[in-house]
Symmetry: C2
Subunit: 430 residues, 2 copies
């Protein structure tokens, strides 16, 4: 098989004509499909319906320590929820605050607090002339949205299959005191599904930042979101490694059950050093009397313990693994050997990352949209929504039905081929 | 009956000796009672246990418009929750955002957003040399805690049975551009249980603030929290009145179901103009994907409509009305005619406000504490925790059992009398 670049003018012309015909057929189908967001599908949500029975009107809504979960109080969360989420996050329950329904909200509030009050006695960021964040990219658009909203300058750091380019990270944070943080999705990263190597985690824990209030924003969004039973990624636990390295306060670690139970009705958590916890609780006590303890208890009663949660995630994997495999199979079949792009094959998480030929991503997403398939906007995976190469596209396979997903993936490969072929034709023969 | 001031030295000496004996008896009882916080009691919480059955594993967790409440999305809350809470707040559902479990959190975030990003295009407050808030006092300590935390200068405005001193409010806000807000609990106020008069609400709606970004923080915490069926306070609805007065953007109105269903597991809301809503949602979209829609749906299914909620609050009133009446009866019996203090007799809300002789509040609270009865710290109802007269004490009758409450109230009156008598004795005869 020839790559598109190797094809003659006639061959490429014929290929384009044939692709246009295929594309037209998809347009005629009047599709309305969505591969844009990392949303669980109905079958996944159905797996958690038992949670609605975990507490009923006959239940005793008291904690093991006697706290009535129905009433005010307990700022940092109930103990049994800290134990469960501690097991989920691989952290000591004493290092955890349980929050409301959204870890994104916790991250936003963490940045906001640093802006108005500073971190552990340091100058509030809003009083500084310049605050910068490192943004490994491609990455999570909603992370970048928070820092952009606060006027924080974002510096793109290239991602590799081992994690962010650590040479660059080490150099920048050690030289520039205005760099206050870095956004990380260390496991089954968004969108590539990469997990940071041991070497990467070790180097993170040993960073020597110029800024005393530099923090790693470690969004462990997919910590237990494996696709396979037998091929799972394991990371060195970052808090423990930071402590061993003599940098105990270096990291804020975030997680939630949004993609374990119900997005929007899960529980979120932050794990960090006791120093950081004290700093945070001194603010949190002004913000709220406490988060939803009944929902914390509901989660504990539903899962029992971490094994219950792991078994639950195995069922989730059974629903979404075929979807990942279907997309990968279609990509393999339709795109391999044509030199029109590369894609990741993650073992967990919610995304497949597709790298098109430079300058093609926007056109591909646009083509797909015009045939009724919604993708994450091209560029969204980069700070300020600007992919310098216009190459990366995030593919979210979980939400559509498997049939819809196959159709969408087929159409997507047609768009990739058509846009690539036209671009190559234009460059070579026009 | 003579007041303490009218008593002779002998009479007052005998009274003090007798009170010391009474006090000693309470000390010997080794009490551990709490009249410090506005917490619902167990019987009140039990009234909402049916909410745990409102959604079960067989339930369809879809909204009327088909939205699956289990999944991501719907930033401002589900429509049927807006309708229910709109009826509760007396506002158009279109003017409402439904939040998470805590209206305090919404207020904090509202101040925090103004600090970092300003209100409707105005300068962020953190960029200003000075930001001030008016604080009608006695008032709610957690309000004052938010503004103090953000370094906002608080100016005390005296409360009257009609609401804040509006002459002072009008003068200050029209003259001083650095005054950006005022904390209000307009109905069954915390701690006095006063409701703002029609005249007061009308004058609020017609304020002419020097600052374009001045907002009234209208915490309608006790909007439906009546103690009596037949004697209820009605307020002019502030958003409507502001609109009529040509000041549609002047007010943020807050409420929650914390003292309707479960504190900590209710739903909070903000009602405001469409301009303000747009401003807020432009921030909120960076902070979260959405709040807990399942809990919103749970509330809607449990209550059905506002009539269901009103009937529910009638049951709550039946539990706590006897507690208010018991305290008032004991105060009447033990304190009337002695000239040692005054107290309010609210028709709703969660508190009775007690004004001791100047300089006595701290000593009274301290005495009560040493006999095992915890009160809200004296001073807490004033900005910076400093009551200039050391006079006001907040009494929270809802949480203890009626028997405990009677004991606590009896002991409290002994403390009031003892501290007052000793003070008068010292001033007159020493």
């Amino acid at each position: 098989m020839k790559t598109y670049v190797e094809m003659s003018q006639e061959e490429l012309k014929a290929e384009i004509a044939s692709l246009k015909e295929s594309y037209k057929k998809y347009q005629d189908m009047e599709l309305s499909l969505d591969m844009s967001r990392g949303k669980p599908c109905r079958e996944q949500l159905d797996l958690s319906m038992g949670m609605m029975d975990a507490l009923n009107s006959d239940a005793d809504l008291s904690c093991e320590d006697g706290t009535d979960c129905r009433n005010y109080g307990v700022l940092s969360g109930i103990q049994e929820a800290k134990v469960l989420i501690g097991d989920m996050m691989e952290n000591n329950p004493d290092n955890i605050i349980i929050y409301g329904n959204s870890s994104l909200n916790v991250m936003y509030d963490t940045v906001s607090r640093a802006m108005t009050h500073g971190i552990m006695g340091n100058t509030p960021w809003c009083k500084l002339d310049k605050v910068k964040f490192l943004c490994p990219a491609p990455g999570y658009d909603r992370h970048f949205s928070i820092t952009e909203y606060f006027g924080i300058e974002m510096i793109t750091v290239p991602m590799t299959p081992e994690g962010p380019d650590m040479d660059m990270v080490e150099k920048l944070v050690s030289e520039d005191e205005s760099i206050k943080g870095i956004w990380c999705v260390p496991k089954y990263s968004n969108p590539q599904g990469y997990s940071y190597s041991d070497e990467t985690v070790r180097r993170f824990a040993r960073l020597k930042p110029a800024a005393k209030d530099f923090r790693i924003f470690w969004d462990n969004a997919y910590g237990i979101h494996h696709l396979y039973d037998d091929h799972q990624d394991y990371l060195i636990e970052i808090l423990a490694e930071c402590k061993r390295a003599g940098n105990p306060d270096l990291v804020y670690k975030f997680a939630s059950t949004s993609k374990v139970t119900f997005p929007g009705s899960g529980i979120a958590a932050l794990a960090t050093s006791l120093n950081n916890l004290e700093d945070i609780e001194n603010q949190l006590k002004h913000q709220t009397i406490g988060h939803d303890k009944v929902n914390q208890l509901r989660h504990v009663r539903f899962f029992g313990d971490i094994h219950g949660m792991v078994e639950h995630m195995r069922k989730q994997a059974e629903v979404i693994r075929p979807k990942f495999e279907a997309v990968e199979e279609i990509f393999d079949k339709n795109l391999t050997g044509l030199g029109v792009g590369e894609w990741t094959k993650p073992r967990g998480g919610y995304f497949i990352s597709f790298d098109a030929l430079p300058g093609c991503a926007k056109a591909i997403v646009d083509r797909a949209k015009k045939a009724g398939v919604k993708m994450t906007p091209a560029g969204a995976t980069y700070p300020y929504g600007k992919d310098p190469l216009d190459s990366n596209i995030r593919v979210a396979p979980t939400y559509p039905s498997i049939e819809d997903l196959k159709t969408a993936a087929q159409l997507f490969t047609v768009c990739v081929r058509l846009v690539s072929a036209e671009k190559i034709y234009k460059e070579k023969f026009n």
